[in-house]
């Protein structure tokens, strides 16, 4: 749909802009700057700083350019004596009580107040009274410091809290001259997105407590890079000085982050200097780890792998990849395993998923244009926080609708017009029921057979019909599902549902497969799968595989991670290469995995930090990781972007390690930098043809959606009984105390013990009240934690938050049903 435009004149220049654009933005579009403090293009129009005063023909008084829409034929003057005097006046008022401590102010050099004063100020003040004294250093939170004297009460930060994050946590107190930003009763301002107020503060009032007084902004080496924490891949600027990380700020990319980043992305980067980093390669000899050169470590790896392959065949070697690594690293690893070792024992995840979608792969911006977003098994607030902001924007500010299907309560429910909760473990039935209801609504065939919806999932048939009805009546539907939170055949059922919904002649639909790990989608694309080559080429597509990879490419289905651990335990898998993954803690059933890994004859761990897994390895190779590495990642919206390095690494980049290993297997690997790898993968990975340094420089580029293999109607299996136990639902936490966010993290104030959240029905039966200590146990694992009675899930299950590595919550998952016992202590 063409957007209506209007044409106006600003200082004699003509601008044509979409209707609804304000005068500040209209001027910007033709290169005319109108100075601002309070206006922020991503927020609502405030008009309170009065800096953007302009003259508009036929209007008696000066107008604020930020609050008025550009209209047809409007004549705006930005440089008349009246405007100049008006702005000088506003600046004089603004500076009346603003301290001139610019020489020690963190904002110095990037301060709109400095810049506007330089450009529009009178150069002198007539203020002859002592400036109002106020608090110079108030800790708003452990990571944000407020200098009250510098605050110009522009309301940007409080508006952010009200309109963008919607927590109403940072507010304006008092009135008039005594206006004061603050929180309820001086509690810390510690929301998930609090740090953004530092970026948007137009003066040095809100400062990063860690960066405060550490460096001058102009002394920083800034690199435009990506956040590596979750699969949103927000754009950030990494500021370093003398090869030390000083701060991270947001770098707006409308297609991804809309200009915001979460606090984990901003403050959670201490791992680049962690004590726990692996700095040197090591080789275990006689049970002892010895420092080795990279060549020695690689040689050892190559020769051991070769001899195992020779003795036991390529099927005796496996690879566990990383959803956190770059496409380049993952591409090279799968090449090493397939073309060097000759195996398809390649995987990176504990859940079942296949590449491709039967519908469009939507980008984040589609959430704004879709009239309905459907969340399935997702908790964006904890898993993909920037998606949380985008959904809130769509619902509250753009009037879109949201519906939610999940097994646990999330903060998104508040924004949903309908929210259905299925029993933990019954996702196949619930999704099958939804597919069936959608098919009925559209009078289509092909849905799975489900006839026990209420009994097996807890959702009534007519509730599900209502849910499906919202999907079939919408013009554009964006389905966001988290494969990592679904079990069994569920992803296949989601795809079945999507292909049925796609048949709706009245509407269009697309999906975002939202697995939360940084580059989980890239890992799929790069073929870190036992049954697919890069670009979603199925093993059954023999001719295509041979065409791209040559005659010797293995086409026998490899083992999944789960199967690999099983084979390791039984002694059939002799060697395992683990790249930036810690399955002992991060995969369900950690203890069994630990036992299995101990049995592996040759374990290589290529990682950034020491973990429970690296501790067992025979060869350890350092991976430099985010901050130091360079390459591309693919976010859940299918956007491929460029992750630049911000710091110079002491050790070798990972692609070099891979080049050495490949050479060891006599595979040509003459890479000059990571971009030569990108160039190769662009040739080898269908969908990545257009990905090259130049094309992804600025906003990245969405790779075309891969078609999914059109399967048969999936089978729906009813969940098994957990007897007198409970089904465990592990809830992810944004600020989990793990290897990345360590105990001395600046974000440590967000850490909490895990909680066992019980449905009130179950709690009453067990006589448990909020605050009681309970024991959650499975097999020989147990966890003594606090109970909370809250209907986060349906009866029969318990939600435990994955609050940190030390709790080993996933180790409680010991059977197919994830059954645990809960008892009062």
């Amino acid at each position: 749909m063409e957007k209506e435009t209007v044409t106006l004149t600003i200082d004699g220049k003509t601008a044509t802009v979409p209707k609804g654009t304000n005068v500040v933005d209209a001027a910007k579009s033709i290169g005319i700057e109108i100075p601002i403090f309070c206006y922020h293009e991503k927020m609502i129009r405030l008009g309170c700083c009065r800096m953007c005063l302009v003259e508009v023909e036929k209007m008696p008084k000066l107008m604020t350019a930020c609050t008025i829409d550009a209209t047809e034929g409007m004549v705006v003057k930005n440089d008349t004596p009246k405007v100049v005097k008006g702005r000088q006046g506003v600046l004089e008022f603004t500076l009346l009580n603003h301290p001139l401590d610019c020489p020690v102010c963190d904002k110095g050099g990037e301060c709109p107040l400095q810049d506007n004063t330089f450009n529009y100020g009178a150069g002198d003040t007539r203020m002859e009274f002592k400036r109002f004294n106020n608090v110079k250093k108030k800790e708003l939170s452990p990571v944000i410091t407020l200098d009250r004297e510098r605050c110009i009460a522009c309301q940007r930060c409080t508006t952010f809290s009200e309109v963008i994050e919607r927590d109403q946590a940072l507010v304006m107190h008092n009135r008039g001259f005594h206006n004061d930003i603050g929180t309820f009763n001086d509690q810390p301002y510690d929301t998930r997105f609090s740090g953004n107020v530092i970026d948007i503060c137009p003066v040095g009032a809100l400062t990063n407590s860690i960066f405060r007084f550490q460096a001058r902004t102009w002394d920083l080496d800034n690199s435009k890079t990506l956040c590596a924490h979750c699969a949103c891949n927000c754009n950030i600027e990494f500021g370093a000085r003398e090869n030390e990380l000083m701060r991270i700020v947001s770098r707006p990319n409308d297609a991804v982050d809309d200009g915001w980043i979460c606090d984990k992305g901003r403050f959670g980067y201490e791992f680049v200097a962690s004590q726990n980093r692996i700095l040197e390669p090591g080789i275990r000899k006689d049970g002892e780890m010895h420092v080795a050169s990279l060549d020695e470590a690689c040689d050892e790896t190559v020769s051991k792998l070769k001899s195992i392959v020779e003795e036991h065949g390529p099927k005796s070697v496996g690879f566990i990849g990383s959803p956190f690594a770059s496409n380049e690293e993952l591409y090279l690893y799968q090449k090493l395993m397939r073309m060097g070792v000759g195996t398809n024992n390649i995987d990176f995840k504990a859940y079942k998923d296949t590449p491709g979608l039967p519908v469009s792969h939507y980008d984040f911006t589609d959430i704004e244009s879709a009239d309905l977003t459907v969340l399935i098994g997702c908790d964006p607030t904890e898993e993909l926080p920037i998606l949380d902001l985008r959904i809130k924007k769509a619902v509250i500010r753009l009037g879109r609708r949201l519906i939610v299907l999940n097994d646990q309560k999330t903060l998104m429910d508040k924004y949903a017009s309908l929210s259905l909760r299925y029993d933990v473990g019954s996702d196949e039935v619930a999704l099958g029921g939804l597919a069936k209801a959608v098919a009925e609504g559209l009078k289509q065939d092909g849905a799975p057979k489900v006839d026990n919806l209420k009994r097996a999932s807890g959702i009534k048939v007519d509730e599900m019909r209502d849910f499906a009805g919202k999907m079939t009546s919408a013009k554009k539907v964006c389905v966001i599902y988290n494969p990592a939170a679904l079990s069994g055949n569920s992803v296949a059922i989601v795809k079945n549902l999507l292909s049925i919904l796609d048949k709706n002649p009245e509407g269009e639909c697309g999906a975002i497969p939202a697995a939360p790990a940084t580059n989980a989608l890239g890992a799929m694309d790069m073929g870190i799968l036992p049954d697919f080559y890069p670009g979603g080429i199925s093993l059954s597509d023999d001719s295509k595989i041979k065409e791209i990879w040559g005659e010797s490419a293995p086409t026998e289905k490899g083992f999944t991670t789960c199967e690999m651990f099983g084979k390791a335990a039984s002694g059939d898998l002799k060697a395992l290469v683990v790249f930036r993954s810690n399955p002992i803690v991060d995969f369900p059933g950690g203890d069994k995995i630990e036992e299995a890994l101990k049995k592996v004859e040759f374990l290589v761990a290529h990682d950034m930090l020491h973990t429970e897994t690296t501790a067992l390895a025979h060869v350890v190779i350092p991976s430099i990781g985010p901050g130091f590495d360079e390459g591309t990642t693919t976010n859940v919206g299918g956007r491929v972007q460029y992750r630049r390095k911000g710091l110079k690494a002491e050790s070798f980049p990972d692609w070099r390690v891979l080049a050495k290993l490949l050479s060891g297997f006599e595979i040509e690997a003459k890479y000059l930098d990571s971009f030569t790898v990108t160039a190769e993968l662009a040739k080898k990975v269908p969908g990545y043809e257009e990905i090259r340094r130049g094309s992804i420089q600025k906003e990245g580029k969405t790779r075309p959606a891969q078609a999914s293999v059109n399967g048969q109607t999936p089978e729906v299996t009813s969940p098994g009984s957990s007897g007198d136990g409970f089904k465990l639902r592990v809830a992810e936490k944004l600020f989990s105390k793990n290897k990345i966010l360590e105990s001395d993290s600046a974000l440590a104030h967000h850490f909490s013990e895990p909680k066992a959240i019980l449905n009130s029905v179950d709690a009453e039966k067990l006589g448990i009240k909020t605050g009681d200590r309970v024991k959650v146990s499975a097999g020989n694992r147990d966890l003594s934690i606090e109970a909370e009675v809250e209907d986060n899930c349906n009866p029969g299950a318990v939600v435990v938050s994955n609050a940190g590595d030390e709790y080993r919550v996933l180790a409680l998952i010991q059977d197919h049903n994830a059954t645990v016992q809960v008892s009062k202590e």
């Binding site: 009200e162 927590d167 109403q168 946590a169 940072l170 507010v171 304006m172 107190h173 008092n174 009135r175 603050g182 929180t183 309820f184 009763n185």
Partner: protein, 158 residues
């Protein structure tokens, strides 16, 4: 701990009935007023409770509460004396009367007497200008003030 009394709960029903259900935030000022009438001030605990009832954060409640000068965020006296010092009252000698009252009560303007009986506040215009000087003691207006009438009023307050 803060809780609305039974009587207040009844008033809450009347208040909420005034506004459309989806606009119940309109009841925020009436709730704050009700709280202050019940407790004498608006405590943080009360703000939490009000926030819960109206689906806004406690910070939001505090933000609104602090904008309006009639709310006390600390326990105030039994009698709140708002003494106008604005133009019409000023022209009619309010300044000396306010000094007189302050001395009489032995309390600074803006303060509360030690026995917590009186809080004396310098008030902006109270809209009884044709009967200046004016003060308001709790809900009652007292006009055409003189030293004598002030004595009488104060002495009558138990």
């Amino acid at each position: 701990m803060f809780a609305f009394t039974k009587e207040s709960e009844k008033k809450i029903e009347t208040i909420l009935a005034k506004y459309p259900e989806e606009r119940k935030m309109s009841a925020l000022l009436p709730f704050l007023t009700l709280t202050q009438r019940q407790e004498g001030w608006v405590s943080p605990e009360a703000m939490v409770e009000i926030g819960k009832r109206l689906d806004v954060s406690p910070a939001y409640v505090q933000s609104v509460c602090s904008f309006y000068t009639m709310y006390f965020q600390y326990p105030a006296g039994k009698y709140i004396i708002r003494f106008c010092h604005n133009i019409s009252c000023y022209l009619n000698g309010s300044d000396s009367l306010l000094d007189y009252l302050s001395e009489k009560l032995n309390v600074e303007v803006g303060g509360t007497t030690e026995d917590k009986k009186f809080t004396l506040i310098k008030e902006e215009c109270l809209a009884e200008c044709s009967a200046a000087p004016v003060m308001r003691v709790n809900d009652d207006y007292h006009v055409n003030l003189t030293k004598e009438s002030i004595d009488k009023i104060i002495d009558s307050l138990k």
